[in-house]
């Protein structure tokens, strides 16, 4: 498996997963869940640590919600164990689990007003009335809903409902907060605001958050670590930067952001330089990539290169430059901050090259149909075996 060298520098100091002595708050051990013949969760093992903001990311139907519901107690595993704080949760009904869930549909009680919705969980414990009132008011203050405490859910906007659902789920101070697509129903602008608020809230309360999302940007923005799921199984668990810069597979590379994939074969490994030479039909001179953990020669691999890590020029680069591709600009996408060039290398083969628009030139020098040279540094590509 390819592994980049310089990722450690990106990490913040919070990294309990890197500490072998750390005890996870929640643990999935070989958990499988079937619905009839369909396998929704397939042998998932996963550790989530105290105070972590953990994201389950994957396309719709890959089993994210099911995995979360296994932790909340709404589903029972067909195989494997789910543990919380070291305790096996088998046989513990949902109402006795110290986790709270924010449902994708919010599931606010339509017959109760905002105050009573938030107080619902507190009233299940024998909490004194005055304390309940104080806690609910504190929660509503926190999500800026105090002025609407007497409203019914059907008198609220989508964003307001989302806040009430969040306040209700946090009110009991759960050991872990489960959020199922919490922002799916919000519009883009509100969603981005909420992402940062959620992150801030999590840091302030010191709670452990498990969020389910199919939006890669959202996962990258909020999470300390991301588990990328595919067909019920975990494809990779890592920090957002690791997932993006050192994906474990073509699936992960493709799911998070744009990527150009080149089919290749390992030609020669240079252990001293931690470098690998790849032969590919797409580049007669072959590719060079940095890799300290390269597979054996003749192994079939893919070289994954992000569009923004490539350079594009109208002139051929000096001889001896590694990883040069020749092509013709087929289309240009201008989004203000970035310009994306679609470059035809051969018939039916187009790659994407992205360039930050650092200058304010309105007339871009590179136009449609231009012959161009695309190149990238040896440390820009990731060698993938699957």
């Amino acid at each position: 498996m390819a592994r980049r060298l310089n990722i450690g520098a990106v990490r913040s100091s919070f990294a309990p997963w890197a500490d072998p002595a750390a005890v996870p708050l929640a643990r999935f051990e070989g958990v499988t869940k079937r619905f009839g013949d369909a396998v929704a969760v397939a042998g998932v093992s996963l550790d989530i640590y105290e105070r972590e903001f953990f994201a389950l990311l994957g396309p719709s139907g890959c089993g994210k919600t099911t995995l979360m519901r296994l932790l909340a107690g709404f589903e029972t595993p067909d195989a494997g164990r789910v543990l919380l704080g070291g305790q096996d949760l088998a046989g513990v009904p949902p109402h006795r689990r110290p986790v709270n869930m924010m449902f994708q549909s919010y599931a606010l009680f339509p017959h109760l007003n905002v105050f009573d919705n938030v107080a619902f969980g507190l009233r299940q414990d024998a909490m004194p009335k005055a304390e309940i009132r104080a806690r609910v008011e504190e929660m509503l203050e926190m999500v800026q809903m105090a002025s609407l405490a007497r409203r019914r859910p059907d008198q609220l906007s989508g964003g307001q409902r989302q806040r009430v659902a969040l306040a209700r789920a946090i009110a009991r101070r759960p050991r872990m907060l489960l959020l199922d697509e919490p922002m799916a129903a919000l519009d883009k602008k509100l969603r981005e605001e909420t992402q940062f608020e959620l992150k801030e809230l999590q840091a302030r309360l010191g709670l452990t958050f498990l969020i389910v999302t199919h939006d890669q940007e959202e996962a990258m923005t909020v999470a300390d670590r991301i588990a990328v799921m595919r067909d019920g199984a975990i494809e990779q668990v890592a920090t957002p930067a690791e997932i993006y810069e050192a994906p474990a597979s073509r699936y992960v590379a493709d799911f998070l952001g744009d990527v150009n994939l080149f089919e290749a074969r390992v030609d020669r490994v240079e252990p001293g330089a931690a470098q690998v030479r790849l032969a590919s039909a797409e580049c007669p001179a072959g590719f060079t990539a940095l890799d300290d953990d390269a597979p054996a020669p003749a192994t079939q691999v893919w070289l994954a290169v992000r569009p923004e890590k490539m350079t594009i020029a109208l002139e051929p680069p000096p001889p001896g430059t590694p990883n040069v591709l020749e092509g013709q600009v087929w289309d240009i996408g201008y989004t203000g901050d970035w310009t994306t060039y679609l470059v035809d290398l051969a018939e039916d083969r187009t790659i994407r090259v992205a360039r930050a628009n650092a200058s304010r030139l309105v007339d871009r020098p590179i136009g449609r149909e231009d012959k161009v040279w695309v190149s990238f540094a040896p440390d820009a590509g990731v060698v993938l075996t699957r």
């Binding site: 909340a72 107690g73 709404f74 009904p93 949902p94 109402h95 006795r96 986790v99 709270n100 869930m101 449902f103 549909s105 599931a107 606010l108 009680f109 339509p110 017959h111 619902f120 969980g121 299940q124 414990d125 209700r168 789920a169 009991r172």
Partner: protein, 296 residues
């Protein structure tokens, strides 16, 4: 309102006029007449051939005497109270029996749901009278129930011609009117709300009382009123199953009409019954209107 929508309003009003208002006015008029030994067995009758004098005589002949007699004879009051009591107890029993049934149906898989719904509606396809007669065959001293009990070495029970038989018959006959509105309310209930309640620490029992039951209240109200109102005036079931001593207002009306040939008294009893039920009927209409608004 446009010309066309005005035209469209005619059929329902014509319907109400012919089938409700007109009979009602007839009964109301009968209730302020007095009995005579003739055909028809009441007076005055309106004789329009005599013109204004006929109308004057007719109006002069009307009196509230029947109502006064109704107030003096406490047997009528006893019949009203007994009917209201039977209706109230029956409605409570119907709720107790119907709620679990509706709940089970709403929780069942879609396929068995259709089957159960059919099972509730199917008895309607046979005659109501035949079904009540069937209960006589079950409950009579040498009937099916006592046969089964004797196999199990239990003594015979006497149920036919007792209030118990009336309750059994009423609960059996009105069950669909209770179950269907309850089912409609419970079926709409979003199951994630119950998951949310459990997630927030509510035991299944508390989740039921805090979430399911409050949200099914429109169904409870609709079903209860839909049963209570007609049970108050029920005649056939108490007559067939309750025996001669059963005292209900429906039977009183029947007796006045057919046994005593006292049409004015029967009509007055019916009018008072209607007045008694105005409140629950209005409550039902209010509740239906609200349910309709809620759906929009």
């Amino acid at each position: 309102m446009g010309h066309r929508s005005w035209l469209a309003a005619i059929p329902p009003y014509a319907w109400l006029l012919v089938f409700f208002l007109f009979p009602f006015v007839l009964v109301a008029k009968l209730s302020v007449s007095h009995t005579v030994l003739a055909i028809p067995p009441y007076a005055p009758t309106l004789d329009l051939s005599r013109g204004a004098a006929g109308v004057r005589d007719f109006i002069g002949g009307l009196s509230g005497d029947t109502y006064r007699r109704l107030g003096q004879d406490h047997l009528y009051l006893a019949a009203y109270l007994s009917s209201l009591k039977v209706a109230a107890i029956s409605t409570a029993l119907l709720l107790l029996v119907g709620y679990p049934m509706a709940y089970g149906m709403a929780r069942a898989s879609p396929r068995s749901r259709t089957l159960l719904l059919m099972a509730v509606i199917l008895p309607f396809w046979t005659s109501f009278l035949i079904r009540v007669y069937a209960w006589i065959a079950i409950l009579k001293p040498e009937g099916l129930l006592n046969l089964v009990l004797s196999w199990l070495h239990f003594g015979p029970v006497e149920i036919l011609n007792t209030p118990t038989a009336v309750y059994i018959g009423v609960v059996y006959s009105y069950l669909p009117f209770m179950v269907l509105p309850l089912y409609a309310a419970l079926e709409k209930l979003d199951p994630t709300l119950l998951e949310a309640a459990a997630d927030l620490g509510a035991t299944p029992w508390r989740a039921f009382w805090r979430v399911t039951f409050p949200l099914s209240r429109p169904g409870v109200a609709a079903g209860s009123l839909l049963c209570f109102i007609p049970i108050v005036g029920e005649f056939v079931i108490p007559d067939l199953l309750g025996g001669p001593q059963s005292l209900m207002i429906g039977r009183t009306i029947w007796t006045e009409f057919f046994a005593n040939r006292d049409w004015p008294s029967a009509s007055a009893v019916a009018i008072v019954l209607l007045a008694t039920l105005t409140l629950p009927i209005l409550a039902y209409q209010h509740q239906q209107a609200r349910a309709l608004e809620g759906r929009r």
